[in-house]
């Protein structure tokens, strides 16, 4: 059950990435690019989450999970502040 939630988190974030970047390719709206890049990092974070908690439960990759997510959120914030106003 828990594993299913982790897998679904990974899959949905991946789907968000694909849809947002596809939207950017179609419309060239910069906000979609920044959101898409944000979700690339969030998807990586979710993959690390699955590897950390399901595949290798002995290891603690929490810092890597949070760091990759922070890169994503930071990218989006950068875009929102400097590019999309």
């Amino acid at each position: 059950m828990v594993e299913a939630v982790y897998i679904l988190c990974g899959l949905t974030s991946l789907a968000c990435t694909v849809l947002l970047l596809r939207g950017y390719r179609r419309t060239r709206a910069r906000l979609l690019l920044w959101s898409g890049l944000c979700f690339v990092a969030l998807a990586v974070s979710n993959v690390i989450l699955f590897v950390d908690l399901v595949l290798f439960p002995g290891r603690d990759l929490a810092v890597w999970r949070s760091a990759s997510a922070l890169v994503g959120i930071g990218t989006l914030l950068y875009g929102l502040i400097w590019d999309s106003a």
Partner: protein, 91 residues
Amino acid sequence: MVLKAMLNGALVMGCLACALFFVRFWRASRDRLFAFFALAFLGMGFNWLALALLEVDDERRHFVYVLRLISFLLILYAIWDKNRVGRGKVS
């Protein structure tokens, strides 16, 4: 441990800031897409807040990820909703 807490705190703050930006865009354009994005980032912010506050062994920890899943599903719904409305306008 301190680094983890700091990263989680930064994530909460970052998500809330993104949510506020999307609320501003929504107020300016009245585009539902931005409202959904704001809600999703608010959910993600709460997700990381809960993860920062709960102990590592806490059993409820797993349920917090359901909140993250709901946030991602909200984004997917927002994109689908936007595409549907867009198509409606064209035809």
